[in-house]
């Protein structure tokens, strides 16, 4: 076979692996509930494809070919397992399936079920996002570990443990009932948002962790919207992420310097992304079911308005924060509210909000100190401000943010 034929076979394998990984894993494990075996079987199938496709040509329906190969690998694996007891349920489940994978690309899309399984309350919440990134998008443990600042070995072990739990705890592959859907959906959205990894505190500092996963998170949110079209909070989450994404280019100066939201050049914001975000937000608000992500997106929408009007409506932002506090009184929300109140009413008002937060909760929380420093400085309390700046600098991870805060303190 010519080299170009081999190259095109490899390209096709890469394409299928990238585009259909999650769909294939979800399909393979939806009956067996064994995520790890499904992933292994799929990687075996991909390895077989690497030798078969350049030789025999790319099959007409690559996904069906891979699924068939993966199912054979799964059955072999189960037969070879030494512990018959453990494998019996899997064999039974496999036997209950249709013998052949339908030879159309229209095999059922079980990714939504997989998303709900990954974020099931029986699974440790800390592993929800990594599990989702691995099973639905096929990211490897090393890359996930980097983003989460965990050692790759530990991340690998936690992922394995979570998959064993899913298999052995009898977690059902199904979309939750109406009654428990809002709460369960919240866990899915939460996990996607954690991958996005952008904090709330554009004011003075951002949590950089997970930054390289923003595109993956956006993709997950789009997959979710495709699976649950019109769901208000899914639309809200996507709108929120697109608003943040729209400002990416404006967040850094040409020299890599950190630029806070209030000083960003709105010319550098991406209008198409802002418009897309606004469309989703408008569609969500038609449903009349407000939620945390819609409110957070609404706050970003007010900020985005500055591109047109040249000013920020801090009163509107404060009102959205007040609604948000009722739904989700997290440390991030309270700090964001303090910053907004500081602008809308005055620095004393902002400080009063911050003073209402227990000190213990913030010894590790950078944005609190950055906002506090900013408010104290506006009140002319230089010594106290310098102290808060030090805490914010000491807790910052990003050197550019550290540099920015140093300059503010001086």
């Amino acid at each position: 076979m010519s080299e170009s034929g081999e190259e095109s076979a490899h390209r096709e394998i890469e394409r299928v692996a990238r585009e259909s990984y999650g769909r294939m894993v979800a399909y393979l494990c939806s009956h067996t509930r064994d995520v790890a075996s499904a992933e292994d079987a799929l990687s075996n199938a991909l390895v077989s494809a690497l030798s078969a496709w350049p030789r025999d040509g790319v099959p007409q329906n690559p996904e069906a070919w891979l699924l068939t190969a993966a199912r054979h690998s799964l059955i072999d694996h189960v037969r070879h397992q030494q512990v018959a007891e453990a494998s019996e349920p899997t064999l039974l489940l496999l036997r209950g399936e249709p013998r052949e994978v339908p030879l159309s690309p229209e095999f059922p899309d079980e990714r939504l079920k997989l998303l709900f399984v990954c974020t099931h309350p029986a699974v440790d919440p800390a592993i929800h996002t990594p599990l989702m990134l691995q099973t639905v998008l096929g990211l490897d443990a090393v890359r996930i570990a980097h983003a989460f600042l965990i050692s790759p070995t530990t991340m690998g072990q936690r992922l394995v443990r979570a998959k064993v739990k899913i298999r052995d705890a009898g977690i059902q592959f199904e979309v939750p009932q109406e009654r428990e859907l809002p709460q369960r959906l919240d866990a899915v959205l939460e996990a996607i948002y954690a991958a996005f990894g952008i904090g709330w505190d554009d004011m003075a500092g951002v949590d950089q962790r997970g930054r390289d996963l923003t595109e993956e998170a956006e993709w997950l949110a789009r997959v979710l919207l495709q699976l649950m079209p019109g769901e208000a909070e899914v639309l809200g989450l996507l709108a929120l992420m697109l608003h943040c994404e729209a400002r990416r280019a404006a967040r850094r100066g040409p020299d890599g310097r950190y630029i806070p939201l209030s000083e960003q050049d709105t010319q550098q914001w991406s209008l198409p992304l802002i418009e897309e975000a606004e469309r989703y937000l408008a569609e969500a608000s038609k449903q009349g079911r407000p939620g945390r992500f819609q409110l957070e997106a609404a706050i970003q929408s007010v900020h985005a308005e500055r591109a047109r009007s040249g000013r920020t409506e801090w009163v509107a932002i404060t009102m959205f924060y007040e609604q948000l506090l009722r739904l989700s009184p997290t440390l991030g929300t309270r700090t964001g509210y303090a910053a907004a109140a500081g602008e809308a009413v005055g620095p004393e008002a902002g400080l009063a909000v911050l003073d209402g937060i227990e000190l213990e909760a913030v010894s590790n929380y950078q944005p609190y100190w950055a906002v506090r420093a900013h408010l104290l400085q506006r009140l002319g309390k230089a010594a106290e401000a310098a102290d808060a700046f030090d805490r914010a600098i000491g807790l910052a991870e990003d050197p550019a943010v550290r540099q920015f805060l140093f300059q503010r303190r001086a």
């Binding site: 600042l149 965990i150 050692s151 530990t154 805490r391 600098i393 000491g394 050197p399 140093f406």
Partner: protein, 122 residues
């Protein structure tokens, strides 16, 4: 549980120690130190003099071998250590990432070994 943050610094970072009070690296260290003290996790630690002040001793077949300079000849050298009291490695990695040396060199995180200390001290 105690973790040691082993601070590996580049020659530039070592040189920055002679800079004046306005040096940003020094400022970042002051802020970081304040943050770990205020968070109540600081156990102890010390900076070390630059690597060229090190002297390495080995005993080979009963003979002393004394070598000028640090044990390992690498670009980034051990510049100090900080001991922190933290619940987990995850928490220690989080604090290591905030350490100013993490963006100028590297920070190795290792658990302190009280078990071995007990065997040594008896």
């Amino acid at each position: 549980m105690q973790f040691a943050l082993l601070i590996f610094e580049s020659p530039e970072a070592f040189a920055a120690r002679n800079a004046d009070e306005t040096d940003p690296y020094l400022g970042a260290w002051r802020a970081y130190h304040k943050a770990i003290v205020e968070a109540g996790i600081f156990v102890g630690g010390n900076p070390l003099q630059p690597p060229e002040t090190g002297t390495t001793v080995r005993l080979k077949e009963g003979k002393r071998h004394v070598q000028d300079g640090p044990f390992a000849d690498t670009k980034e050298q051990l510049g100090g250590f900080t001991i922190l009291e933290l619940p987990s490695l995850d928490a220690a990695l989080e604090w290591a990432a905030r350490c100013p040396a993490a963006s100028h060199g590297a920070v190795e995180v290792r658990p302190v070994s009280p078990e071995y200390l007990r065997r040594v001290t008896g």
